[in-house]
Symmetry: C2
Subunit: 325 residues, 2 copies
DNA sequence: AAATGATGTGGAACGGGTTTCATATCAAAA
DNA sequence: TTTTGATATGAAACCCGTTCCACATCATTT
């Protein structure tokens, strides 16, 4: 591999001149520039990013930590974050924790080793204390680590309210919602609290079932929802995230219950799969595009030393009316 | 940030000794080791990976290039490849081309700039010639770049045969399949050729429709499949990839056609969404776990200079019987 | 004519590791 | 006793860019 010194030698200039020519910093005569360009062409020279990284002490890579890349919500989010980072000239390292706290720890360590310049985390398998020790750029998605780490999340309270009102207005009297364990500290729990509150206020009976928090596999939801539908036979409304909701719909139909006539189902997230169910699922849409933009915007500000960002950013949600309610 | 020289100074040894102690290479006395460990503790020293990278001229990162991370097949593949790479001590950079050839090119350039040690590519937006110029580790998924670049793909011929036989045995007489443009050079086209061939041999009428090759959005499939179902009204069997197949099912049901009684549908890929449709979709399963393992195994052999890999690796497929056929 | 400023340049130092090399010590073998 | 080999170590070179600094031109000002 040709280095900048080879170029300098061939062009009969110093390495400094080549560097200035390449970066457009400082003075370079037209004559020198021409000879340098020719040498670069001749040698097929490409600057070695690893050397740049060492000097700048930056890798230009942002890590995104998600619990399961295959889950449609995180797949979409990863895709959109990657797009934003690409547009801003950064590269994306992907970290899939699949619920294993060791992995989450390993990925965080990459901050210390300068492999990534910052991390956007949407995982939940690790203790808060580990995060609080780190004082490098971290942005949290749907998780509150306290004042040191900025967090971005949807207006889950509104989401819960919209879901509740939708089921109530559709005439539900006895509804079921699935919530991730209340042990996991996340703003998204607010949607379940609000959902319960609104239902109660309207005299609607509501059951909240806590599901396993660290399993986001299709397989798990398929089996679990089928079992739950056997247990909760008299409900007339369901609120849960899209994937679980879709499996509820299938389990209910298999039991001969009609949707939305007998049971109304409302999902959360509004990812692509809501159009795959029959009927098309009503869902609360999280604005993943805006979430991604804010995550990227905030992490890059942190990396680049711009303190002008808000600690907590809340993104609006919206009801996406389908035919399951 | 403390450097290895700070540690050396504090422990009263040379930098070489610290390096040897850290890496377990060469001789270090128990006494020196102890003082070094203490100094590391005291200073909170972590080796800077960027410096290591420069010396080794390796980043320890493998790039994976996919057309759309949100598409369930690529989401699963990315997830599994990331897992394999993690287990082998490598990091994963994600590259989402969304059909834009400039992006694919940009990501390939990272090989030259030493940002990634190798690339596993599943994208198709770029000309073959660009790839052929590169002589750094590249593994292709479902794409044949000629003898220089190893390729890994499913036994698509068998897939096409299984799909055809399934529809034929179920009594179909007039089937439709959607194929990606034959202009795109991919081994996966073989499944359509084989499907046609088997159908013809059994006296079944078959229509092959070429769809847009670079759009893998849910939105696109939803609209396109609805339109196609309006055009091809008299078919009794459909073969296409899972996402498209799922939307075909919904469009057909919306038109009052019963599945599988009137129209039989068989998908391809067998990703999680086959359990979301009603009825559960029959599909040809690609073994993404084995594909991922082989991709990772091959790219790491290339990176580590081990030439002991096969140029073309074909992974078995299987019929996953659901209720749509 | 002397001082000033813009333009242009090469060489050295730097970032933080790894590796090589010359050298030193000490115990065991010849 | 000399030789030999294992153990142990620090200094220096290296990886490859970027930046700083000293210095050289040359055209304007004063």
């Amino acid at each position: 591999m040709a280095s900048i010194r080879d170029v300098a030698k061939m062009a009969n200039v110093g390495v400094g001149t080549v560097s200035r020519a390449l970066n457009g910093t400082g003075y370079v005569s037209a004559d020198a520039k021409k000879r340098i360009d020719e040498a670069i062409q001749e040698l097929g020279y490409t600057p070695n990013e690893l050397a740049k990284n060492l000097f700048r002490n930056r890798s230009g890579i942002v890590g995104i930590v998600v619990p399961n890349l295959e889950h449609p919500f995180f797949a979409r989010l990863s895709r959109e974050i990657e797009s934003c980072l690409y547009e801003r000239g950064y590269k994306t390292m992907i970290c899939n924790t699949i619920g294993i706290s060791n992995r989450e720890k390993d990925y965080l360590d990459m901050l210390d080793r300068n492999i990534v310049d910052g991390i956007i985390t949407g995982a939940h398998s690790l203790d808060d204390s580990v995060y609080l020790k780190i004082n490098k750029p971290i942005v949290a998605l749907d998780r509150d680590f306290g004042r040191k780490i900025p967090l971005i999340h949807s207006d889950h309270e509104k989401g819960g309210r919209l879901a509740a009102m939708t089921l109530i207005e559709a005439g539900c009297k006895n509804v079921l919602q699935f919530a991730t364990s209340s042990l996991v500290h996340t703003p998204s729990n607010k949607r379940h609290i609000e959902f319960e509150k609104i239902c109660r206020e309207h005299g609607v009976r509501v059951t909240t079932v806590e599901t396993v928090w660290n399993n986001l596999e299709y397989e798990y939801f398929r089996n679990a929802m089928k079992d739950y539908m056997d247990i909760y036979e008299d409900i007339d409304g369901i609120f849960t995230a899209d994937v679980a909701a879709a499996f509820c719909m299938n389990a209910l139909k298999a039991k001969g219950r009609r949707i939305p006539q007998e049971v109304k189902v409302i999902g959360y997230d509004a990812v692509g799969i809501i159009y795959l169910t029959d009927p098309v699922m009503t869902s609360i849409a999280q604005n993943t595009t805006e979430i991604s933009q804010r995550c990227v915007d905030t992490i890059l500000k942190m990396i680049e030393g711009n303190k002008n960002y808000e600690r907590q950013q809340i993104v609006d949600v919206a009801l996406l009316k389908g035919d399951s309610t």
